[in-house]
């Protein structure tokens, strides 16, 4: 898995489309947030918006690219070989989706640098150890959510488009840029089952020092494990079904 992750991280880091999406998404949304929050009543949330827009960039790439990961391998004629290999298939797919989200570290760098240099919004990190732990935990969580998505849509030929459906909903529900308190009350319990909610809370708390981030990190990691198990089970079910029908290369 480590080797798979390293190979895919290098490969995805050289994809100009991925890199531009990762850099431009946070820049555009941080800019929109900057103008809106500066023009509105609340000017205190810009630092959190910088983190949130970085997380949006990571999710934006992961949701599309992870859902499409299997379709790409199917198109390249590799899917049957990978499924037939003695390595469990979840151990092949998970490093790909985690690598895709890990490339999102560029998104965090771009967002924080951009808001600091252009808008003078510095991120005052109050709890460095928690922040350093929260960043990989959040990236891992988004990667595993992408894995779950990829596994769930393994049967869809247009999985990339299905993945695209989840871009705005996850941005909204997880409170990446919008405080969850502003959303309808029924959304809050829904947001709890999304690990990025807890990852975002952890990064914000660690940066702004409002409260301890470690509880959020723990929940984030717990949900990440749950996604991994659920994704592996789904993958097993769908692959068995495809193998039985002989449709692995066709669906």
């Amino acid at each position: 898995m480590a080797k798979g992750w390293a190979i895919h991280f290098k490969q995805e880091s050289r994809n100009p489309f991925f890199l531009w999406i990762l850099i431009c998404t946070p820049i555009i949304y941080a800019t929109i947030a900057y103008f809106l929050f500066r023009g509105g009543k609340d000017g205190q949330t810009l630092a959190a918006a910088a983190i949130g827009s970085a997380m949006m960039g990571i999710w934006s790439l992961t949701t599309t690219a992870s859902a499409a990961a299997l379709a790409q391998r199917r198109r390249a004629g590799l899917l049957e070989l990978l499924v037939a290999a003695p390595v469990p298939f979840w151990a092949v797919l998970a490093p790909i989706t985690i690598a895709i989200s890990a490339v999102g570290v560029y998104s965090i760098g771009a967002s924080l640098l951009y808001t600091r240099l252009l808008f003078g919004v510095a991120l005052p990190i109050e709890d460095w150890p928690a922040f350093v732990a929260a960043v990989p935990a959040s990236i891992l969580a988004i990667g595993m959510l992408g894995f779950l998505l990829g596994a769930a849509f393994v049967r869809f030929r247009a999985a990339w488009a299905v993945g695209n459906l989840f871009e705005f909903p996850v941005w909204t529900i997880c409170g990446l840029l919008i405080p969850i308190a502003v959303l309808p009350a029924w959304i809050e319990p829904v947001s709890w089952v999304f690990a990025p909610t807890w990852g975002m809370n952890a990064m914000r708390d660690a940066a702004l020092g409002e409260q301890s981030a470690w509880d959020d990190i723990a929940v984030c990691l717990g949900l990440t494990v749950a996604y991994c198990v659920a994704g592996a089970l789904l993958l097993r079910f769908f692959l068995r079904s495809a193998l039985r029908r002989g449709t692995l290369a066709l669906t």
Binding site: P16, F17, W20, I21, C24, T25, I28, T31, I32, A33, F35, L36, F37, R38, G39, G40, K41, D42, T45, R157, A158, A161, V162, N164, L165, E167, F168, P169, W171, T172, L177, I178, P179, V182, L183
Partner: protein, 261 residues
Amino acid sequence: MRRLRIFAIGGWLSYRAMFGWLNPYLFVIILLVPSVTQILFFAYLGRAAGVEDDTFYVVGNAVVAAAVPGLFGMADTITDERYTHTLSLLVVSPASRVALFLGRAAPVAVNGAVVAAFAFVVGSLLLDVSVPMSALPALGLTILVTGFSCTGLGLVNAALGLRWRESALLSNMLLYFLLLAAGVNVPLDLLPGWLSTIAQVLPVTHGVEAARDLVAGASLVDVAPLLGAELLVGTVYATVGLFFVRLFEFEGRRGASLELA
């Protein structure tokens, strides 16, 4: 007659082929659903920031929904030809380029208007935004004009696809820029002066303003100058796009780079 056939039948087939070879459910999941989730995202962002009301975001994001088919659809008319190795065949054909590309642009522009109308209706219902019934015909016209102007920009985007392989990336960048600078989500008076000046030559800017005025009770006559400006912007982009198609096609043939760019 031949030009008319290329325009109508060629354009229609090209449009249908964009949806994964005639698969209608892609239309729903690529265009319709995201247009509504985008409205909800920005409406709640606006509430959080305390800037403008829901009507502002419903109208802005519904109108800009016309840009998605315009930008991506037109770019795909080039990139998909390259992907299926038919671009060279297209380029060597004697068919009129104006008929060919305008034929491809027409259904995309109508498609953009349909998506924008859908987003407008569903967004208004979900966020309880009231629109005067008398404004609906003028709003329909505004959406159609904006769909045309976005397709004009899409034509420039498609032409650039003859020289640059990453046209999907360019489509994304243009869409992002419209979201930021065309007065869709950030009021123009909150933007720096240079950015709001650029906004005047972007598609969507005048269409959004006209749509907001109509929802606020203005008549078609009141917004006619704005619609005229939107139409002019679209026409200029479409003309520049057709010129670039010719130019880059010539360059591609000379450098034998059509399949490589």
